[in-house]
Subunit: 191 residues, 2 copies
Amino acid sequence: MKLLEERIRRDGKIRENGEVLKVDSFLNHQIDVRLYNEMGKEFFRLFGDEGVTKILTIEASGIGIACVAAQYFDVPVLFAKKSKSKNIDGTVYVTKVHSFTHGGDYDVMVAKDFLHPTDRVLLIDDFLANGSALRGLMDLVYQAGGTVVGAGICVEKAFQPGGDQLRSQGLRVESLARIAAMSETQGVTFC
Amino acid sequence: MKLLEERIRRDGKIRENGEVLKVDSFLNHQIDVRLYNEMGKEFFRLFGDEGVTKILTIEASGIGIACVAAQYFDVPVLFAKKSKSKNIDGTVYVTKVHSFTHGGDYDVMVAKDFLHPTDRVLLIDDFLANGSALRGLMDLVYQAGGTVVGAGICVEKAFQPGGDQLRSQGLRVESLARIAAMSETQGVTFC
């Protein structure tokens, strides 16, 4: 998606010897909601004929784009929560996700009430690198007996293995910007 | 806001002897994005003439409604983050928030790059009870020298002190549903 690629080129910042792409001025801390809207429209163009019944994302930075995109699909959003809070009682589906950004594993969960065997679920997230979050979300849907129709990703670090691994396992992954390489001196190269 | 009050009456669940209102089927776990849209429109009706330049919320459950509301204001969303991640370098404003749901204090922060003295900030959050999150968000804006134009809240537990305290301190607080009392036997009474 040209609009997102241009924005990454203009406002993205590469840090830590090409390891980290900061897009926190428009994507995952401060949010350009117009851009989200264009991305939501694009996800709908890509997945609009898949009979999506629910969009599943993971807190925190997936929630905004999932909600804006859901307006086009006219379906509910469900976000997997990172810790068990007082406000969720009853039974939950739980899975483990590894965070490369923060280090270590953590549990995410969704209430069983909100995922069903009849659900056709679109996964949405802001970043895809090693794919751990997506695998966790897929696992939650499978525990419920539902169907994953695919994953809509804002930015894929295609030089990390997650996207290709998931595609080779049969998941339809659509990333609006796919980064082939990045470095502090040469900037971002898209696929 | 009638639509939200009716929804709370229909789908809200009162737990733990009237202490906890579960609205996780439509507001803060599974999300009814159409309802968010109507709430966003209402926030715009209330605050649309305040010259808002930015909407500030706190992760995780404020992000969705903030993003949907921001479409009406046509301004960026900024969400305060609960922990320092690798993806935020540089300087940040930090403040402490007390969580009554989880117990204990935690730090929230925003990057200094995204809050300025010229900003007129609308705070948005899903719940208001003791007001700790709102006070934290106000503090972040004041640290930046910006102006808080008010707070748009989805559900206020008006039987807890936060809302009245903040109003008496001069903050304009607009809550779309204000709960006067609730109990497992009698349900919810709105103000």
